[in-house]
């Protein structure tokens, strides 16, 4: 354990809370243990069982499967539907079956916040202001005003974070017109092959897109703090379509240095589309041989009351790594995963 960095993490968490509190947000503490966690096909919740000690004899079920949340998203959307606005949740989230590659721990600190009647612009402004406030006010961070360098650490300079659409990124990094490829899978395949990728018959448009994006664009985005926004609609299924170009949807990710720090959306409030999306996810999980569970009907009923909200999931531990110049998440945790588990 590096005590200096553990202290820095504690201080950064307090500063994050201070920023939200002074901006008029309410901190909510939504449940960590739920019956119906998120169904993303590539996220694996931890499962246990909840048992009632005195339910026997009343003719009721005495136990149920229970899972640790992978994200507080569902609960927060239900709160938005109840009329709450400007809410944030900062607490542990749990994801199983992740690579232990220095940027993951099965338990990590997640920050999510949501605004009613908002879009990506408000979310991006929140994110940048919050990071600058924390970097400036902290007595423990070592990177306040350093320019970009090839390796960690990358600092937060006085220059505003870059905001670039996915379309502009393809243009800048690959000299390619992404919009012309959205409906032309063959052209996308040709591009992938020309860029040395393999394309299988089973690869979907999204798969091929990611092979190109992850190889040639994503590794370079964080060279300066960058918001990448407006994704092709197919990979932002839960986001509202962009008003001026419905082929794209309002999703944003923040890249600083080697880290993807946040993933945000202008949230779609259509329960029918959401139900379809849930059904697709469930089917894919089943096809991949993974555990499946019922769809959260309470969430679906809550959606129409959410209005035009926007929200974002932010990796607090990665921000701490960035600001303390740490190469591994283990540097900032009091006890690393390998110290806790005999693996």
């Amino acid at each position: 354990m590096n005590q200096e960095k553990v202290r820095a993490r504690s201080e950064i968490v307090k500063l994050i809370r201070a920023w939200f509190d002074q901006c008029g947000f309410l901190e909510v503490h939504t449940p960590r243990l739920v019956g119906l966690p998120g169904q993303e096909p590539h996220l694996e919740p931890f499962w246990t069982e909840v048992v009632i000690s005195n339910a026997k004899g009343e003719g009721r079920r005495a136990k149920s499967d229970a899972a640790l949340i992978t994200s507080p998203e569902y609960a927060m959307k239900k709160l938005l539907a109840e009329g709450m606005d400007k809410i944030y949740d900062l607490g542990p989230c749990f994801r199983n079956n992740e690579p232990w590659d220095g940027t993951h721990d099965p338990e990590f600190l997640m920050l999510e916040w949501y605004r009613r009647d908002a879009g990506l612009n408000e979310i991006m402004e929140d994110t940048e202001s919050m990071i600058r406030f924390v970097a400036k006010e902290s007595k423990n961070v070592i990177l306040r005003e350093v320019g970009a360098t090839k390796d960690l650490p990358i600092g937060i300079s006085a220059e505003s974070f870059r905001r670039i659409t996915m379309e502009a990124a393809f243009c800048e990094y690959l000299n390619v017109n992404l919009s012309s490829l959205l409906e032309d899978k063959q052209a996308l395949v040709d591009l992938a092959i020309s860029l040395d990728q393999t394309v299988g018959d089973e690869d979907s448009w999204d798969d091929i897109f990611f092979k190109i994006f992850l190889t040639h664009i994503e590794p370079r985005l964080g060279e300066q703090p960058t918001f990448l926004y407006r994704y092709p609609a197919s990979m932002a299924a839960l986001a509202r379509r962009s008003e001026d170009d419905p082929r794209y949807a309002e999703r944003v990710e923040l890249y600083i240095g080697p880290f993807e720090l946040a993933n945000g959306f202008a949230e779609l409030a259509d329960p029918d589309e959401q139900r379809e999306r849930f059904a697709e996810e469930r089917e894919l999980r089943s096809k991949l041989g993974k555990k499946t569970w019922s769809i959260d009907e309470r969430l679906l009923s809550a959606l129409p009351k959410m209005g035009n909200a926007a929200g974002i999931a932010f990796g607090v531990d990665r921000l701490v790594m960035l600001l303390t110049g740490s190469k591994s998440i283990n540097d900032i945790l009091p006890f690393s995963a390998r110290e806790r588990f005999d693996i």
Binding site: N2, Q3, E4, H42, D101, D196, D207, F210, L214, N263
Partner: protein, 186 residues
């Protein structure tokens, strides 16, 4: 046929009819998308490097290489020289092919050399190796309050590594050759 999940440094894959050795790799899950493995691969014949991303559910062809136990002899203008412990054959690898693994080489050490068609293409270092600290600041009791827990140390083969503040010159340490980090006292 194999899965991209089996990719490790030193593994050789066949792509477009050529053989490529994996020099770097990373698992990526672009949240709300499929799972991928991104790797840097180097062409065995012409040393051309490129980056590739595979879907985890794809199949790739991993080519089994001959792995020979060899002894590292010395370095000269032809490169790094190795001798097969069984046959006494010698082969050399260029600086370019050995890359940053060179920093761990100790004359006389046994090492696995990945060989294809009698040509050495990669080195497989033991995951952990022992080195002796030859230069570092004096040992101090760990000062955990102020957080000064590590210091720089130079080891016998020449590279530097962060070690606990209580280590002394002359002590032997275990280093992880994949990350370059101190693991524990030997």
């Amino acid at each position: 046929m194999a899965s991209p999940n089996e990719i490790k440094k030193g593994i050789v894959v066949r792509k477009d009819g050529d053989l490529w050795v994996v020099t770097e790799f990373q698992h990526i899950n672009p949240g709300k998308g499929a799972a991928f493995v991104r790797a840097r691969i180097k062409n065995v014949k012409n040393a051309r490097s490129l980056e590739m991303t595979w879907k985890v559910s794809e199949t790739i062809e991993i080519v089994e290489m001959q792995r020979r136990n060899m002894q590292y002899l010395y370095k000269d203008d032809t490169g790094y020289n190795f001798m097969d412990s069984a046959t006494y054959d010698q082969m050399s690898m260029s600086e370019q092919d050995v890359g940053d693994q060179a920093k761990y080489l100790k004359e006389g050490m046994t090492i696995v050399v990945v060989v294809y068609e009698d040509k050495p293409i990669a080195l497989q270092l033991p995951k952990k190796m022992n080195f002796t600290i030859i230069e570092t600041m004096p040992a101090v009791k760990g000062d955990t309050v102020s957080g000064n827990v590590t210091k720089e140390a130079k080891v016998d083969v020449g590279f530097t590594v962060q070690v606990p503040i209580f280590m002394k010159e002359g002590e032997e340490i275990v280093v992880n050759t994949e990350t370059g980090d101190y693991v524990e006292r030997a």
